[in-house]
């Protein structure tokens, strides 16, 4: 339905987009993701013909450059990020402007599509209020309604969730997904990566005016791609509720402490200490923990080595011993007492430096269980106090 090739947009001396090429089919919701300034909005504006560009944009087989503005308006509907509303047009009047490309100069528009658009976006309630007087979130829905009234086979959405609360953000994306399911081609620039992953059929990851990755959300949202595109440390896990990729941005590693730290945990108790330890520059490993345990998920998302055992099958003391054999520092996470005993780290097997967190372990705690994770990081890096706990 849409095919873009060699798309280059220059603003002044800066290349905002540089040879971008991709396509989107009818019935597909394609998400364009990327950092601020990657050119997402520019891409949307090139695709609706309101920006000069080099390269080709084809809509339904015809080059955009050959279509009249009016014909483009019939084929491509756009939900902009914001709109400049001057004078007090009512919400209904603004939505009715979506019928502009379908209406002859002195003709009147068909009121039905406008009513349907108002109903569908839940804006009918304030249809007769001034559009400049509704809240930012309501205005966004008015703009979505306007694009619905435009009734075009291609719908471009610039930040469907921008300025919306969680409920309306999800509803806006549900609506976008519905439009795609009806057979339209929907391209949406979305800054919220987890929501984009949840609703889009495919993603295009844009950075520095070029495409970094393109494909299914799972294949695009990887730690490697994200660190290239966002120049940031990101962890990708799976959302426990929707089972779609969940992206968490982490602070850059602040120091490079060096040395390896092994965390003994289970049941998610190791999670609070993992990313601070990683950020501090330690080479972190985790395990043995049951497969599917939250500790294992978090460790994988952070790129740590994980040793797992089958669920409901407690690790043997040999497995624990092997895990601890190669590490410089052991961190004993504040697990439940039963777990602590089943893991069986006897003093002879512990590495030279060990940080005991909480009172479940049979050793006196170095850090209390409710202390901030930074205390654990500090203790792990404390080279002066090399110690191995002795059993009481």
């Amino acid at each position: 339905m849409i095919s873009v090739s060699g798309l280059t947009v220059e603003r002044g001396s800066e290349r905002v987009l540089d040879g971008v090429a991709f396509g989107a089919e009818a019935g597909e919701l394609l998400g364009v993701v990327g950092p601020n300034g990657a050119g997402k909005t520019t891409l949307i504006r090139a695709m609706n013909g309101t920006l000069d560009y080099e390269g080709t944009v084809k809509i339904g087989g015809d080059a955009l450059a050959d279509l009249s503005t009016r014909e483009t308006g019939r084929r491509v509907a756009t939900v902009p990020q914001e709109t400049a509303l001057s004078f007090d047009f009512t919400v209904r009047e603004v939505v009715a402007m979506g019928r502009h490309p379908h209406t002859s100069r002195f003709g009147t528009h068909d009121p039905d599509p406008v009513d349907r658009a108002l109903e569908r976006t839940d804006t009918m309630r304030f249809a007769d209020r001034a559009a400049s007087a509704v809240s930012g979130g309501e205005r966004k829905r008015v703009l979505i309604a306007r694009a619905l009234a435009q009734d075009a086979p291609v719908t471009l959405v610039d930040e469907p969730t921008g300025g919306l609360d969680v409920n309306h953000a999800v509803r806006a994306l549900e609506l976008a997904a519905d439009l795609a399911a009806e057979g339209r081609c929907v391209v949406a620039a979305i800054h919220d990566l987890p929501l984009a992953a949840r609703y889009c059929d495919r993603l295009v990851l844009l950075a520095d005016g070029g495409i970094v990755a393109e494909g299914t959300p799972e294949s695009v949202l990887t730690a490697t791609n994200l660190s290239r595109a966002f120049d940031a440390n990101a962890a990708v896990a799976r959302d426990p509720v929707t089972d779609t990729p969940l992206v968490t941005a982490l602070p850059e590693a602040t120091a490079s402490r060096g040395g390896s730290v092994h965390v003994l945990g289970g049941g998610g108790r190791a999670v609070p200490y993992l990313h601070p330890l990683v950020a501090a520059g330690f080479d972190v490993s985790v395990g043995p923990v049951p497969e599917g345990d939250r500790d294992a998920e978090a460790a994988r998302a952070l790129g740590c080595a994980v040793e797992t055992v089958p669920p409901f099958d407690p690790p043997s003391s040999e497995q624990v011993a092997d895990a601890l054999a190669a590490t410089d520092v052991a961190v004993l996470a504040p697990v439940r007492e039963s777990v602590a005993h089943s893991l069986d780290p006897t003093p002879s097997r512990l590495p030279p430096r060990t940080v005991v967190v909480g009172d479940a372990w049979p050793f006196p705690p170095d850090v209390s269980a409710d202390a901030p994770p930074e205390r654990v990081v500090e203790a792990a890096g404390d080279t002066t106090g090399v110690r191995r706990p002795a059993e009481d």
């Binding site: 309101t50 503005t69 709109t83 502009h100």
Partner: protein, 350 residues
Amino acid sequence: MGATDTAVETPRKRRLRAAGWCAGLAVLLCLTVVWAASVGPVTLSTATVARVVLDALPGVEFRTTQTAEAVLMAVRLPRVALAAVVGVGLAAAGTVMQGFFRNPMADPSVVGVSSGAAVGAVAVIVSSASVPFGLGRQLAAFAGALLAGFFVYLLATENGRTPVATLLLAGVAVQTFLGAVVSLLIVQADDQGLREATYWLMGNLHGATWEKVVVALPAVVVGTIVLFAFARDLNVLLLGEADAGSLGVPVERTKRVLLAVSSLLTGAAVAVAGVIGFVGLVVPHAMRLLVGPDHRVLLPASALAGGSFLVAADTAARTFVGGLPVGVVTAFVGVPFFLFLLRRREVSGL
């Protein structure tokens, strides 16, 4: 549901509302014209005025008196008709300019058209050049208006795009420059020229003739109709140029048409009546309060109301002891009214 049903404006209802306002304001304009023509040193009844006007129409005959016909046809009616035409033109152009610039202070003079007209007219007055058909001053003013408007447009256009903010700034700059040129011309003038030029600059309908009406009328009528044809595009343009483009409005072309036609309207009005301020500013604002922002209703309503306003203002001007330039009256009425609007929500709501 009953309450919302009546509040909902369907396209049909909007057409009815537009027709209602236009019919009402057209009647008001006719009444104002008849009343204005009856006022003067020789008091005539409105019935007499109506009879003379109807008698002048082809195919209709009414019994009239010679005096009444002479006073009305030669003196009062050309002036009243000219006031109506100029008022319609200025108000229509003003409505479009405010929408076009998305600026409540915009009026037809912002793109330098009025100043261009002033330079043309004052140059002819001061140089006391020969006057073909008695309309040299008008032609010079009209030419000056269009040249200035075109020049401002060229100044503000780069790579085929004319940003509205640049246009506004270029307009203000050119306006100031042309204002200086007018001052320079006036300084060079003799007493007679000085008096005439000053009088012209204040805006007046003194010395209105049917010839002037014939010159201005076609431009104003055609121009207003063209602007009306673009009323819906103008509505969409108010959402911003990027939005308008995505809604199928060819933005740059539409801007060019709107700018050219409103300059033409203003040029025609200024050429025959001098610089009459505040009609293009106050009338559209007042009508926007009454009929709302939809240009499909607002534009014809403003145009008709502008006609009535200027006819009434000019009647006040000429009946004042010694006679006043109509520009003085529109400013005296317009400024307080505008300040009143400023204190209300209309202007701040923009």
